[in-house]
């Protein structure tokens, strides 16, 4: 058994990815100390499955993509499967957050939301989009 979050464990989990997932990465040329690190993490995850592709856009220059994916900071990662479910990550997904991002990739690639039937039925009644922000730290 590989340690949770280890490259081998992540690779094993991503091996069952049935559908393509795009990691849409937004960078910024100046004033982004962490963009390079974030891009390296994105590349690392993409290296674990042929289903995962990376595309990079510039937060300042690529205004069309910025508007399409609704991002306003860099580094930003949009996790996009067959549909864009609105999953975004701002910052460098290191440590435990690397596993969280892999979870997001699996969600986008499998369509399995991991929610109970009760929860799915409850949120199915929502009549408008809801914005959810979760602040995390890289522990």
């Amino acid at each position: 058994m590989d340690a949770p979050g280890s490259p081998r464990e992540l690779e094993a989990r991503l091996a069952r990815l049935p559908n393509p997932v795009r990691l849409v990465f937004f960078t910024q040329t100046f004033g982004c100390d962490t963009c390079l690190s974030a891009r390296q993490v994105v590349d690392q995850i993409a290296s674990l499955s042929e289903q995962i592709t990376v595309e990079e856009h510039n937060l300042v220059l690529d205004k069309e993509k910025v508007a399409k994916f609704g991002v306003d900071r860099a580094p930003a990662i949009a996790v996009v499967g067959e549909m864009d479910l609105g999953i975004r990550y701002y910052g460098v997904p290191s440590g435990y957050e690397l596993a969280s991002l892999v979870d997001a990739v699996l969600l986008a690639g499998t369509g399995e939301l991991g929610l109970s039937d009760e929860s799915l039925a409850a949120v199915a009644g929502l009549d408008r989009p809801v914005d959810i922000k979760v602040f995390v730290t890289p522990t």
Partner: protein, 56 residues
């Protein structure tokens, strides 16, 4: 939109949303939850904001 934000990298956002610990969840700019919540509690908070109508 479901956004994860690394609080140390974006201190201005952490200040704006009064992040005193993690994980901190903010729903539609108004409902706040600190700490890991059960699925039931999380869903009930999402439904609560929906019942209150759109944020002006």
């Amino acid at each position: 939109m479901a956004t994860a934000i690394e609080a140390i990298e974006f201190p201005d956002l952490a200040r704006q949303y009064r992040v005193s610990g993690v994980p901190k969840t903010v729903i539609d700019e108004t409902i706040e939850m600190l700490g890991v919540q059960s699925e039931d509690v999380f869903v009930s908070h999402v439904l609560q904001i929906s019942a209150e109508g759109p944020v002006a």
